[in-house]
């Protein structure tokens, strides 16, 4: 009952459509950045290694390697600063959190690509 009321309060803050993506996907996250007066959109590309929380608290973690250094960014899904999430590749994975990728370097960080066919289109993991 209480949870329902809380969900109602933030209902208008949730994004109407959240792009469908899963853990293991390689994504482009379009992030709004304010530099003084100017506003621009930056793209952060990487692998989704975690997705957690529910409702307005939902967030996901994207990991990529920059200059041989692992970089992870956590994005709140419903933040107005996250403009778009584009799925570039879908990786096959058997677990929900890919934290083991942190211990891997180079070729070992690749994920087997998911077979993309008819099944993908009916995928309603949201």
């Amino acid at each position: 009952m209480t949870t329902k009321a809380l969900d109602q309060v933030v209902a208008n803050q949730l994004k109407k459509t959240v792009p469908s993506f899963r853990v293991g996907d390689t994504v482009d996250v379009h992030v709004k950045i304010v530099e003084g007066e100017r506003e621009r959109v930056q793209v952060f590309n990487g692998t989704v290694i975690a997705r957690k929380g529910r409702g307005i608290n939902e967030s996901f973690t994207v990991r990529r390697i920059v200059n041989n250094e692992g970089v992870e960014r956590v994005f709140p899904i419903h933040s107005p600063n996250v403009v778009d999430i584009e799925v570039k590749r879908s990786g096959f994975t058997r677990r929900s959190k890919l934290y083991f990728l942190r211990d891997r370097v180079g070729k070992a960080t690749r994920l087997r690509e998911k077979w993309v066919g008819k099944a993908k289109k009916t995928d309603t993991s949201q």
Binding site: A5, L6, V9, V10, Q13, G55, I56, H78, P80, N81
Partner: protein, 213 residues
């Protein structure tokens, strides 16, 4: 002007502003409250309103409560509290106060009964640091240490008010200066910044902040 209301804490969530900044908010159901009694200087020596909020199951209603509430043409209320006023209120018994009383108010104080912690040790209750984890400390890692000295002829008493382990929580607690983030008049909800005392579904008193705004 009445700038206080009774309510119920529903829980916490977060809100975004257009810049993407997250504000943690507590959602409180504020009112509607019924005025059960109006106290004045002439009759009681001070100005106050007695407000009632929430419903009582019919099997739990007591005759004195029913009789008291009947004067306000209302069913008995689960949570009844008095609100002190500086001057006579332009309110009558039976009036209903809604969250609109907080329309122009930027900050609120929230009064509630804090969550009970039972018999708590000094580390949790008073923020003592306890003893080291190692260096020869055995089975005393969260103990208070020395509580006084033996000064020989002047006695060996422990000072009054010495902070020790004991019952913690479950006391009336005021949390000051919560920014009002949003008001939902339709559903009688008010969103204040930060956490407030008490459990979810606990009753709270909301009042205009004493020291801010």
């Amino acid at each position: 002007m009445v700038t206080a209301l009774l309510g119920k804490k529903l829980g916490m969530t977060r809100m975004y502003d257009p810049q993407g900044t997250i504000t943690p908010v507590t959602v409180i159901q504020a009112g509607p409250c019924t005025v059960l009694q109006v106290k004045t200087v002439q009759t009681d020596g001070y100005h106050a309103l007695q407000l009632g909020f929430g419903t009582v199951k019919s099997s739990r209603q007591k005759q004195p409560q029913i009789g008291h509430a009947r004067k306000a043409k209302s069913p008995p209320k689960a949570f009844v509290r008095e609100v002190r006023l500086g001057a006579a209120a332009e309110q009558e018994v039976g009036n209903t106060l809604t969250v609109e009383v907080f329309d122009e108010i930027p900050y609120l104080d929230v009064i509630a009964t804090s969550k009970g912690r039972g018999f708590a040790g000094v580390v949790k209750r008073h923020g003592f640091k306890g003893q080291p984890a190692s260096h020869g400390v055995e089975r005393k890692h969260r103990s208070p240490g020395s509580i006084g000295v033996d000064s020989g002829s002047t006695g060996r008493s422990i000072k009054k008010g010495k902070r020790m382990a004991g019952h913690m929580g479950c006391v009336r607690c005021t949390s000051r200066n919560h920014q009002v983030v949003a008001i939902d008049k339709e559903n009688h909800l008010i969103m204040v910044k930060g956490s407030v005392p008490g459990p979810r579904n606990g009753y709270v008193v909301l009042a205009r902040a004493k020291t801010k705004g």
